[in-house]
Symmetry: D2
Subunit: 333 residues, 4 copies
């Protein structure tokens, strides 16, 4: 029973069907009928004109946007536990040509106006120090917490005050939307977000993510950068088709709802052991090495997060029997 | 009737089936059972130990290898019509951190020992001029010509003499192998090739290419660069599965054979109009604007290559009726 | 008798005196009294507000400006014999993060509206090909030819029509100004030039060059890039002092005048042997290997430019006796 | 009375004389008679064969070496207060092509085997996290502390154990040598240091620093990188001459001795107010805003380092009267 990561889950059958259905000769790259629908599909979802470009990984989605938002000599303010800092192998440095991540501390990988202000305040305004140019947040965070639309608004104001562009890593955006009940528009551009990666791979997709540009003038530059980074698939229709399949009938929300519900059940069982509240599809649990081993002996697979801390991740297809068993096993520790 | 590009053709049904079959939970990235088979599969094909890494585009496959072979301050000798020079949006510059392409002229996008030697000979050996570090050839070339194993040997010797690494862009390697009848080993490492991209997308794949490292010690570095460039798909099994499906029963050769045969038929019809001999799946034909229009009026779709020159590309699934009709129409011009 | 390069000549005594005179404690970097005078000094020279930043080499001066003018994914149109292409070790690729030099042919390292238009016209307007973003010319050129203000105007119009920024490598700007008699303003911003490097090292300076930004808003970014490239000297006053000493009383023009006059004398002697007219301080002469040897035997030092071609360079301090002797020796060949 | 920085001090008269003396025609770049002496001069100083290259700033000296030691995808372990992290405008990211600085905490900008081990230990050994490749320390540190040769040995062992190259920022190496009494060899290559920047600008030089390569095979690559970064001055003799003048008769040690002595005098007066022991030429003193103002009112110029903390820096030419007055003024606070 695998609770290792949502990364590795199967794709939703509708996604596989969509790939198969799009498997016919069409214009190469993003000139096909599926790719050409993305702008409209996301414009409707976000209640305004946006530009949407597919790409095959979250790292590419984040870093192509960051490269357009941040000059090589600029800084990207983010949490010290942000995926772009910790788990992308220095990709922001590669894509931007050497921009510097400026790290902020705080529990649960969440930044606050105060921590952001403090980080910016420490920078001398001269040519010897890298000046911040972008604020990047992850929603839901790397620890399964979410920002409400109100929180994002406050961060957007800080960004604006300091002339920072505002980027959102939305690898688990669906989970955050389901939890908050906010409209996608309120969670993003109405709060000042300029560009985001909209994740599908962890939510029923196979290998398609969307870059959403609220500053639509960025799209043409990012399209060039996408090609230059080797991310312009010649049969891009298979990426667009996945995304359209997940948007269709709000399947993306249904998938996230399922994952979140499974996580909540496990979280409830963990009770006092929880390191963070469960607001998305990740559950961080305090457990000794022997307790972790006991769970493994019962057939559960998960990640050792640190000393006496383990992580479970649910996904759209988390098996309810397995979830119940895991909840019971944790409760019984 | 579309003869625009092999890039945009449908994937072979076996490829779609393989994707569907691999759509289940497994270890993320390249830890799954499909990805772990690639080294062995290609080692068998190449009759020696190789390392093989999947990636989703030819640009990424070429440029990740070039970045490992060429320092930022080095030069890559290639033909002026090479894909890496003409059609990858400067990707070699991005991946290598600014290496310089050193261009060689000659018909049909083919380089020769003589043109390579001349280009190298023009470089002063001092710090003011970029020194060549890599030779990159494309086989089959961008104009549908092929290098025989004997020709590759001669180029490999030039590379060795000057201390250059040797890279092959094998976007249409299958077509070259079918034409030459050479063993993959003879065409590559036995001739001195250090690394190659082995193309599948133009030959029945959906979005999977393989980087083959004959210098196996490069693989770990390239794996890091792959992640850093956002090319490490979390469900990489879907890429590996495509490749395995095309290797299975030599489907890759059957597909290339079909494409080449269709091209030969069209080439025969073109006769004196041919700009280059047809050695792979591309046919360059001299035709006036009105002749081109006449062909279009009859329902054929193709690329205007230049003044009075048009290009047709066949693919694994080129419809034989359409091919016959096109041949007849060209013959009738 | 050394006619190898103006690069290696001694600095003018006024420059050494200025360095000594500035050798006292002052604010570090460019906050000192000398550096703070540069904007005004060059604004006066160019008859409008400009921003001027010192740097210690021509390569840095060119490439810092190009990095501000050209995105990493853009192209810089220049002559195939341009210094930035041939003799800067790939520095434009390093500073810009991988921009591509798009080469134009033609005699004497001069570009023309026609060759520029042709080069731009060959580029497909899509994401697969690098799009030109900057035009860079060298005045005087690498072969000692000059552009008149009228010629620069015509190039500026081409640049404007295609949305290209316009850069001038002015390593030998002084020589061009002396020859043409044009005002610096007419030769540059009034003709559409956005940024230039204004050379002093080849003209009596020791190690100071100026970047002149006619688009003054570029200066702050370039100041950051200068620091980031390790080109912000802490005792920058010694660089500014050199420049001010050479501007003082138009010493820069006097120096160039001397170098040009010496070159003309040698050029006159060369007569029919000249490869190019002598318009600045370089003389390219046809001479067989034995003729070259004969000159060397008589004590003249120079550069073998190619088969049967030799190059002489004069400088501000070319000794008139040596110049006369060389002229006589060439005439006697 | 200026105690702001050693950066901005005048150059030693011997340095100016050396520049003037070298001001005559010689081979360009580093082919002149002064530059060609550097390898021998430093080889003697370090008691083994080394390669030595001049460059005009400390940032260039550090970052060119780091670029040769660290691949773009690697990490450089250093102190969070290291100059390369705090005050070089992201230059390491630019020169390396995006390498990541991996920061270590601890008082006085000193790293220890324990803090280094802990930082390295936190990195997962997979492709998702940047792997450390270089250890960089500053001696004397940015807070005026020094590493003894014994301490450097211990760090060298940690570096070796983890396969890290070992770099030393020696902007104030002279001050550290004077304090420790260690031989330069013991402080560097005998302790495992692979490459260092050897500072002269803060110690009586004008604009010359030396890169010392104990791994001599790095020198040729760094020479190429130096050119490519625009740091190959055409009249490099003026840089080499400065360095030779300061090595002559151990003037570099005399200069550092003078600066250190002045600092010690001020440090003694500060007594309990000292934030760190005074081991080089920087003095960090606890002082309230009103105390700082009182000192300023008496004519002393210095840097506000943080709340209730001020910094004084002495230099080779610190005026003894001013130093005595400052010491008295601090003692009287």
């Amino acid at each position: 029973m695998r609770f290792f990561s949502d990364n590795a889950a199967a794709a939703h059958p509708a996604v596989i069907e969509a790939i198969a259905a799009s498997n016919r000769l069409d214009t190469a790259y993003d000139g096909d009928e599926w790719s050409r629908k993305l702008d409209d599909a996301f414009s409707e979802l976000f209640e305004r004109e946006v530009r949407a470009l597919w790409v095959s990984t979250g790292t590419a989605a984040n870093c192509l946007a960051l490269a357009a938002l941040c000059p090589p000599y600029g800084g990207i303010v983010c949490h010290k536990d942000a995926h772009i800092e910790v788990d992308e192998a220095g990709a922001p440095g590669f894509f931007t040509g050497g921009a510097k991540l400026m790290l902020v501390d705080g529990p649960g990988a969440k930044v606050t106006p105060e921590t952001i202000e403090a980080a910016i305040g420490r920078v001398r305004k001269d040519v010897h120090q890298v000046q911040p140019r972008v604020l990047s947040i992850t929603n839901a965070t790397e620890y399964g917490l979410t920002y409400s639309a109100v929180e994002v608004v406050a961060l957007g104001e800080v960004a604006k005050r300091h002339g920072l562009a505002f980027h959102m890593d939305g690898a688990r955006f669906a989970n955050a939307i389901v939890t908050s009940g906010a409209k996608p528009a309120d969670m993003t551009w109405r709060s000042g977000v300029d560009a985001m990666s909209f994740g599908f791979v962890k939510n029923g997709g196979l290998n398609a993510e969307a870059m959403i540009l609220f500053r639509t003038e960025l799209a043409d530059e990012i399209a060039v950068r996408r090609k230059r980074a080797g991310h312009l698939s010649s049969k891009g229709r298979m990426l667009a088709a996945q995304i359209l399949a997940l948007l269709e009938g709000d399947l993306w929300l249904a998938n996230a709802r399922a994952a979140n519900a499974a996580a909540r059940m496990i979280g409830s069982a963990a009770g006092e052991r929880l390191v963070y509240p469960v607001e998305a599809n990740e559950i961080f649990v305090r457990a000794s090495a022997s307790e972790a081993q006991a769970l493994r002996d019962r057939g559960f697979d998960f990640y050792d997060w640190g000393p006496d801390e383990i992580r479970f991740v649910t996904s759209w297809d988390s098996d309810s029997r397995s979830v119940e068993r895991l909840a019971a096993a944790i409760a019984a520790l």
